[in-house]
């Protein structure tokens, strides 16, 4: 029961802090779920995040799996509700009053000012997942060279060509299966 309450607290807060989208709370989420509460291992977190990129729908629905690992099916439900409900209520309420502020010049200032903060948070998210999934000191240099190369290849290919990212991530899985076994 205490676990459920902690899950509720952590993910409600994350929901309301997700400024500029879900990726912005990745660093805080990683810190809370791996280091502070130890609901999942660092490898679990990176894997769960990447599985979320392959499923359809909003890419942060993967938070449910963190709840599942922490506390079974009840944990999964609690986390999904905690992560989606608070921000959804806020949006529902705010979209009522939004028009009143339509021409307020500060709206533009908030959007322009928050943009670099969101990007900084996403960069911290790359670091939070990458420190396990791309360059992990517990793995051999050979292993890390392959994971870094796969990541950079995906980045490069996505800039060069219009490809569905889910396909590239599956290809990453095939490359991993060929190159990372027993390394």
């Amino acid at each position: 029961m205490r676990e459920i309450v902690s899950l509720l607290n952590v993910f409600c807060l994350l929901s309301l802090l997700a400024v500029g989208g879900g990726s912005a709370v990745l660093p805080q989420m990683e810190h809370e779920t791996v280091t502070v509460h130890e609901w999942v291992s660092a490898t679990d977190f990176a894997t769960i995040y990447s599985l979320g990129q392959m499923a359809p729908g909003p890419n942060m629905t993967m938070v449910g799996l963190i709840g599942y690992k922490a506390s079974g099916l009840a944990g999964m439900l609690v986390v999904l509700l905690a992560f989606y409900l608070p921000s959804s209520f806020l949006t529902y309420g705010a979209s009522h009053i939004w028009d009143a502020f339509k021409d307020n010049p500060w709206r533009d200032s908030i959007q322009k000012g928050m943009a670099p903060v969101t990007i900084g948070l996403m960069l911290a998210g790359v670091h939070a997942v990458g420190k396990t999934a791309s360059y992990n000191p517990e793995h051999s240099l050979h292993f890390n060279a392959i994971t870094v190369a796969v990541g950079l290849a995906v980045t490069g290919i996505l800039f060069a060509k219009h490809i569905n990212p889910a396909v590239l991530i599956l290809v990453g899985g095939v490359v991993g299966w060929f190159c990372l076994r027993g390394v």
Partner: protein
């Protein structure tokens, strides 16, 4: 524009279809195609206004847009139908993936493939960050805020509410509305 507003069941069906087919992210584009182009439930301008609210408020942009669109079409029931339709398919698929993960993650073949998948997902997140942050990375003032946020949250683990409280007001004030040249 359709004059008769759709029933919640029709809204649920439309968003459920997006929730099933939207592999690989880019959900906002799927939403636009369905709401504006196929169903003509919103005009292009209405959709962009909804997206603006969805991006500014906390929470996932796609879920927020679904809630605003659903509310506009059929009130609270419409908002609930839209959000559930969007989230449920991915949640069910992730439930299955998570179950398989918990069962098979110790298998060396599966572990190698998952490592490749996670490595590729980091590349995807990096590409998205660089792409939507291109303007912020090239603007020296914004870059300061990007790096400041990254260092505080990503490296020093300053908690997100504290970091936002410190950084956001400065970032917004620096982008404050400029007075028009004297009229």
């Amino acid at each position: 524009m359709n004059t008769s507003s759709p029933a919640p069941a029709a809204i649920f069906a439309a968003f459920f279809r997006i929730g099933v087919t939207s592999f690989g992210g880019g959900l906002v584009a799927y939403l636009r195609d369905e709401i504006v182009t196929n169903k003509r439930w919103m005009s292009e301008d209405e959709f962009l206004a909804a997206l603006e609210i969805g991006q500014t408020l906390p929470g996932l942009n796609s879920v927020n847009v679904a809630i605003i669109a659903g509310r506009k079409l059929a009130g609270p029931a419409g908002a609930i139908a839209a959000a559930l339709g969007l989230v449920i398919p991915g949640a069910v698929i992730l439930c299955i993936l998570g179950f398989l993960y918990v069962r098979f993650h110790k298998n060396p073949d599966v572990a190698a493939a998952l490592a490749g998948i996670a490595a590729a997902a980091v590349g995807l997140l990096l590409q998205v960050t660089l792409k939507i942050g291109a303007r912020q990375f090239l603007n020296p003032l914004d870059l300061v805020f990007v790096l400041l946020t990254f260092v505080l949250v990503g490296l020093c683990h300053v908690s997100l509410p504290v970091a936002l409280f410190l950084i956001a007001p400065c970032a917004i004030i620096l982008h404050r509305p400029r007075k028009e040249v004297s009229k």
